[in-house]
C-alpha cells in the first residue's frame, strides 16, 4: 500500500496524484497514438468512442458532479450538430469558427434550459429537460430551411485550416485531441473553486448555500458548460455519422447517454470514459454473441429478434443500479483496494447502509 505525503498545496491541485500515475497516463497516451496502426479496422469505431466520451464528460459534469439529472442531452447534441453543419455548409464559415459558434449556441441553449431549472429540483428538472428535448426534436423536423427537415442533411468530411480530415485515422486523431483537451479542461475546472462549488451543490444545496455558493450562478454555469461540451461532441458526431436526421436525437439517445454515465460510474471522469467504451462496444458484443448462439430449440431465432436489444440495454441498466451503483469505476476501485489491502479486504467497506425513505418534497 502506498501512502501519499503531500508537502505543498500545488500537489493538491496537480493533474496527477504522483509520478507513477502520470507515467501510466503517458503510457496510455502512447498506446492511443499507435492504436490506429495496431487495429486499423476499428479506427472508425474508436473515434466514435471518443465522441461518446465527450458526451459522457458533458453529462458527468451535470449529473455526476452537480447532481442535476438531464433527460434532454440528446437535444444539445442535436443543436450542436445542426448548428455546426449549418455554419460550415450553408454559411461557409471555417471549421474551427463554426465549431466554436456551435459550442456557444448550445451553451446559450443550456442557459435557456438552466434558468427555469434553477427553481426546480429533482424530478421536476428531469421532466423539464425531457420536455425541452421533445420540443427541440420537433423543431429539427419542422425547420426545413436550416435542418433539412425529415429528409435529413448530408454532412461532408471535416476540413481544418485547409487540411482534410476525411481519412478515418486523421479523424481519429482529431477526436482524440478534442477529448484530451476537454478532459484536461474539466479535470482542472473540477479542482478549481467552480468544481468544488458544483460538488457542494450536489451533496447538499442548503449546505452549499450557507457556505456562500451562489446556487443560481453555479447551476447555470454547470448547464452552460455541459451543453457546450455536448455542442462540441455534436459537431464531431455530425461528421462521424455523415447524415443528420431528426429521429437520431430522440429521447432514446438521451437515455443511452445517461446509461453511459451510470454504467461508467457517477462522479468520476474515468467513469465517463469507461461508460463511453461500454456503450460503444456493447452493440458489437451483442451482435457477435447472437451469431454464435446454437440453433437449439429455436433459441437462435429467439435471440435474433430485433426487439431484444433495447431490453438488454434496460436489463444491464437495472442490474447496474441494483448491484453496482458506482458503475464500472466503482468496481475497479473495489478490485484495486482488494489487492492493495490483501488479505485484509472487508466487504463491509463498500456496503450500502440500510436506508428508509427521506422526503425530498421539502427542499
Amino acid at each position: 500500500m502506498r501512502f501519499l505525503f503531500k508537502t505543498s498545496y500545488a500537489q493538491e491541485l496537480g493533474l496527477f496524484r504522483d509520478n507513477v500515475q502520470r507515467n501510466w497516463y503517458v503510457a496510455l497516451f502512447a498506446a492511443l497514438l499507435v492504436l490506429p496502426r495496431v487495429v486499423p479496422d476499428y479506427v472508425g469505431d474508436i473515434s466514435l468512442v471518443f465522441i461518446y466520451g465527450l458526451c459522457g464528460l458533458s453529462l458527468m459534469v451535470l449529473a455526476g458532479y452537480t447532481g442535476l439529472v438531464s433527460l434532454g442531452h440528446a437535444a444539445f447534441l442535436g443543436v450542436g450538430a445542426y448548428a455546426h453543419v449549418y455554419f460550415v455548409h450553408d454559411l461557409g464559415l471555417p471549421w474551427i469558427v463554426s465549431a466554436a459558434l456551435a459550442c456557444v449556441l448550445t451553451a446559450a441553449a443550456g442557459v435557456l434550459v438552466g434558468l427555469p431549472a434553477l427553481r426546480m429540483t429533482g424530478v421536476y428538472l428531469t421532466i423539464a429537460t425531457l420536455a425541452f428535448a421533445l420540443i427541440i426534436q420537433e423543431v429539427f423536423s419542422r425547420w426545413d430551411r436550416v435542418t433539412g427537415g425529415l429528409k435529413g442533411k448530408p454532412v461532408d468530411k471535416p476540413v481544418l485550416f485547409g487540411v482534410s480530415f476525411a481519412h478515418d485515422v486523421a479523424f481519429y486523431f482529431l477526436c482524440l485531441a478534442f477529448l484530451i483537451g476537454a478532459l484536461w479542461l474539466t479535470a482542472n475546472l473540477l479542482k478549481a473553486p467552480t468544481g468544488r462549488a458544483w460538488v457542494a451543490i450536489r451533496d447538499s444545496e442548503i449546505a452549499a448555500q450557507s457556505m456562500g455558493v451562489n446556487l443560481a450562478l453555479y447551476k447555470t454555469m454547470a448547464f452552460a458548460y455541459s451543453a457546450a461540451l455536448m455542442g462540441l461532441a455534436g459537431a464531431l458526431f455530425a461528421h462521424k455519422i455523415g447524415f443528420l436526421a431528426p429521429d437520431i436525437f430522440s429521447v432514446l439517445l438521451s437515455i443511452q447517454l445517461l446509461l453511459m454515465v451510470v454504467v461508467g460510474g457517477l462522479g468520476s471522469l474515468h467513469g465517463a470514459v469507461y461508460g463511453a467504451v461500454f456503450v460503444a462496444i456493447l452493440p458489437v458484443l451483442i451482435s457477435q454473441a447472437r451469431d454464435s448462439v446454437p440453433a437449439w430449440q429455436g433459441l437462435d431465432r429467439f435471440v435474433k429478434q430485433p426487439g431484444l436489444e433495447p431490453g438488454l440495454f434496460g436489463l444491464i441498466l437495472v442490474l447496474f443500479i441494483l448491484f453496482e451503483p458506482l458503475g464500472i469505476y466503482g468496481r475497479w476501485l473495489k478490485i484495486k483496494i482488494y489487492f492493495s489491502l490483501f488479505p485484509l479486504y472487508k466487504r463491509a467497506t463498500f456496503r450500502r447502509q440500510k436506508t428508509y425513505m427521506r422526503s425530498e418534497r421539502l427542499r
Binding site: 449529473a63 423539464a128 420540443i135 419542422r142 457517477l266 426487439g307 441494483l322 440500510k354 425530498e360
Partner: protein, 290 residues
C-alpha cells in the same frame, strides 16, 4: 360552436387517459417518492394482455378487462417486492434510471411476446356513436370518460373511508412514524404499486380502441408526465385536472395552430408552468428546516 364542443369532448376523453396515467405516477410518488418512468409501459402491458385474452383466447371483453387488470396489478406488486424496494432511500436519479430500464425491458418483452405489429382491440363500444345536437359522441370516448369518473370515485372512497386506504396515506406522509404505529409499510407500498399498475392497465384498455395497440403505446407516459407535473406531482385531483388540461390544449392546438404544434403543445405549456410555478399548479412547496 359545434366544432368547439366536439373538440372539448374529445379533449376530455384524451385528457382522461393522460389523467389516469398521471394518477398512477402520483399514487406511487405520494407513497414512496419514487418516480415511475415505466408507468406508460405498464399501460402498454395492460392493453396487450387484454388484447391477448380477447383476440387469442376468445374471452369476453369484460372478463378480459378484469383478468388484464388483475394480472398487471399482481405484476406491479411483484415489481415492488422484488426490485423497487431495494432502491428506497437511494438518490432519485437511481430510481429514474431503474424505471427507465424496466420500461425498456417491458417493451422488449412485449415485442417478443406479441410481436411489433399494430393491433386493434374489438370492444362493445367500437364504432358506435350517438348524435347530440351537432356533436358526435363516440361511445369509445364516452367509455373513457365514464370509466375515469367511476375509477376516481372508487379510489377516492378507498383512500378516505377504508382502513387500508388511511394506512396508506399515513405511510406516504411519514414512513418512519407509520412503522411506529404498526402499519406494515412494505405491504402498503406493494399495494400502492398494485393499485397504480391496475389504474395503468385500465387506462390502457380504455385507450386501446381509440389509439391502436403497439409496443410504443407507452410513450403516452411522456405526455402524462406533463399532466402530473402540471398538477403538482403529489396531488391526486391535480393529476386529473392536469391531464384534462393537457388533453384540451392538445386538441385545440391541433385544430387552430399550425401543423406540428399539436405534439409539442403539452410540453410548451409544461415548461411555461414550471418556469412560473416550479412546484406545479396544485403542488405545495415546503422548505426543509436545517
Amino acid at each position: 360552436m359545434d366544432t368547439i364542443l366536439q373538440l372539448v369532448l374529445n379533449g376530455l376523453a384524451v385528457g382522461c387517459i393522460y389523467g389516469l396515467v398521471a394518477l398512477g405516477f402520483v399514487l406511487i410518488y405520494k407513497a414512496t417518492e419514487l418516480v415511475n418512468f415505466a408507468q406508460g409501459d405498464l399501460l402498454m402491458l395492460g392493453a396487450f394482455t387484454c388484447y391477448m385474452f380477447v383476440v387469442w383466447y376468445g374471452v369476453g371483453y369484460w372478463a378480459a378487462l378484469a383478468l388484464a387488470v388483475a394480472i398487471v396489478a399482481l405484476f406491479g406488486a411483484a415489481l415492488d417486492a422484488a426490485i423497487l424496494r431495494r432502491v428506497i432511500g437511494q438518490p432519485q436519479f437511481a430510481v429514474v434510471m431503474l424505471t427507465i430500464g424496466l420500461g425498456a425491458i417491458f417493451r422488449s418483452f412485449a415485442s417478443i411476446t406479441w410481436g411489433s405489429e399494430i393491433y386493434t382491440l374489438p370492444t362493445p363500444f367500437s364504432a358506435r356513436a350517438t348524435r347530440l345536437g351537432g356533436v358526435t359522441v363516440s361511445h369509445e370516448y364516452l367509455s373513457i370518460i365514464v370509466g375515469t369518473v367511476l375509477l376516481c370515485a372508487a379510489l377516492y372512497a378507498f383512500f378516505t373511508y377504508t382502513k387500508v386506504g388511511v394506512a396508506m396515506q399515513a405511510a406516504s406522509q411519514n414512513q418512519l412514524a407509520a412503522y411506529y404505529m404498526g402499519i406494515p409499510v412494505k405491504r402498503m407500498f406493494s399495494l400502492i404499486w398494485a393499485i397504480s399498475a391496475a389504474v395503468a392497465a385500465i387506462a390502457g384498455v380504455l385507450l386501446a380502441p381509440v389509439s391502436l395497440i403497439d409496443i410504443n403505446l407507452g410513450f403516452i407516459g411522456l405526455k402524462a408526465f406533463a399532466a402530473a407535473v402540471l398538477g403538482g406531482f403529489g396531488s391526486i385531483p391535480g393529476a386529473l385536472v392536469g391531464g384534462v388540461t393537457i388533453g384540451l390544449i392538445e386538441l385545440f392546438a391541433g385544430a387552430y395552430l399550425p401543423h406540428g404544434f399539436k405534439d409539442v403543445a403539452a410540453y410548451v405549456v409544461l415548461l411555461l408552468v414550471l418556469a412560473v410555478r416550479p412546484q406545479g399548479i396544485f403542488g405545495a412547496a415546503g422548505r426543509k428546516k436545517v
